[in-house]
Symmetry: C2
Subunit: 252 residues, 2 copies
DNA sequence: CTCCGTTTTGTGAATTTTTCACATCTTTTC
DNA sequence: GAAAAGATGTGAAAAATTCACAAAACGGAG
């Protein structure tokens, strides 16, 4: 595959849904016809489908979350993308990692290198995404009841399932953070799961975009002392980042 | 939503991918313009996306399997649809059931009534499909390693997971059957899982389209004596159906 | 039942998008 | 370095889509 085609693919993956004119503007070094042919090429390889006047990402499970969360998902898309890219750089080969549920985690999944990784996750849509798009990683899905809102599983026996899994690095998402309350989420089951993961992982990396700082959700699952690294975006206020560093947490 | 729009939606859901001319032929009582407007209407509600000259089902996890198996999936679409409809009629309210992986099972999932059901499955795409499209069923995903080919999980501890689950009716798919070899599939892990399910379920219903009769795959997981009912399509030869009945199996 | 306003549907022209054939330019191979 | 193969650009032809408006169907209110 050519470099231009890769670039077009990445662009569409990021945007989700593009028009041809948008693409000709973005890739103005080439003619419309060439872009058309590239789209045809990419469609044949099932990376995308061509729509009325443009193209759309080939919807695998990605669309599940987009469809669910609708515009909310896309809103902080660029922030989350930034976080995902930074987090992906922390992934080493042959690592055993945990990947949380949520849109930021989905973006991280797409940024992961196609290498030998053992990826445990409670989000079946993320697991499917990885397995369909990459050849090398092994995906382990945690079993349990599938939650409608979060598309993630939670089982009474999560602890049993984790017992035989040695997780090196856990990428965990939070929905809220304040100094007083720590990291919090909206669901009780998620809270229990995240706690179990954090307790068992060697290294915990928190993914949180700046829009979630200074908000409180019902259930706290971790304090600053529980985590090693926090990955956030460039819009996070310097004051909070300084407070994180003061607590001995790496900030990226 | 109008009756015509419902019908168009159903038609596209069944076919997966249609052209406008196909639709105008199918719904020839209305003009092309009306169909166009219906497609626009349905697109706004996220039921489908419009493509170059037609429309395509809004891809939730359903598309995952279609995308994977490609034409194979669509080939016996009508037969599988027939089987799924017949099998759905066997589902009672408040039942605890197991749903196998595979395209026939996916179709059954779409035909299920939106009632209080406990649905256990090893196919995360089917679980997501149910949870997104229906409000009432509870979905339990079995955990384990996610297989690339089948989009289903298999874990070393399936037996443990099943221990606390009481499955009333299991809908199981087979890839091959002959009198001599019984029901067989292509993967060893699937074979183990199916055996465990069949051993623990009170009632076992086998789903198999006629194209799979008289073919043998590497791993046998059940004999006629293990199952209660076979649901197949109208193209199944009467002689085989008679043999099933003679063995005490209900044939639908 | 009929009038009037609203909604839905059909029609054809205008517009836009897509396709196709072919010319030109680039890269590869011998 | 020449021939072949491949990629890209161009513009006309074909097709699909949109748009504005007319016709038809529908739904009360009198």
């Amino acid at each position: 595959m050519k470099e231009r085609q890769e670039a077009i693919k990445r662009y569409i993956e990021r945007k989700g849904d593009v028009t041809l004119s948008e693409l000709t503007k973005e890739f103005s070094d080439w003619s419309e016809m060439t872009i058309r042919r590239d789209l045809e090429f990419l469609e044949q390889r099932r990376f995308l489908i061509r729509t009325k006047r443009g193209a759309r990402i080939m919807p695998t499970s990605y669309e599940v979350s987009v469809g669910m969360y609708g515009e909310r998902e896309k809103r902080n898309c660029d922030l989350k993308q930034e976080i995902a890219a930074k987090a992906a750089a922390l992934v080493e080969t042959d690592i055993s990692m945990y990947l949380d549920a949520g849109s930021t985690a989905m973006m991280l999944a797409r940024e992961l290198p196609d290498r030998n990784l053992i990826i445990t996750t409670s989000a079946p849509n993320i697991g499917i995404e990885i397995v369909l798009k990459k050849k090398n990683p092994t995906v382990i899905l945690l079993g349990g009841t599938l939650q409608r809102k979060t598309i993630s599983t939670c089982g009474l026996n999560v602890l049993d399932q984790l017992k035989t899994l040695n997780i090196d690095t856990a990428f965990v998402c939070a929905s809220g953070y304040t100094d007083a309350t720590g990291f919090s989420v909206g669901g009780q089951h998620e809270c229990v799961l995240k706690r179990a993961i954090i307790a068992s992982a060697r290294r915990v990396i928190m993914l949180m975009d700046s829009s979630k700082l200074n908000s409180i959700l019902p259930f706290t699952f971790a304090q600053l002392s529980d985590i090693d690294t926090i990955v956030t975006d460039s819009k996070a206020p310097e004051s909070i980042k300084a407070a994180f560093r003061a607590a001995g947490v790496h900030v990226l």
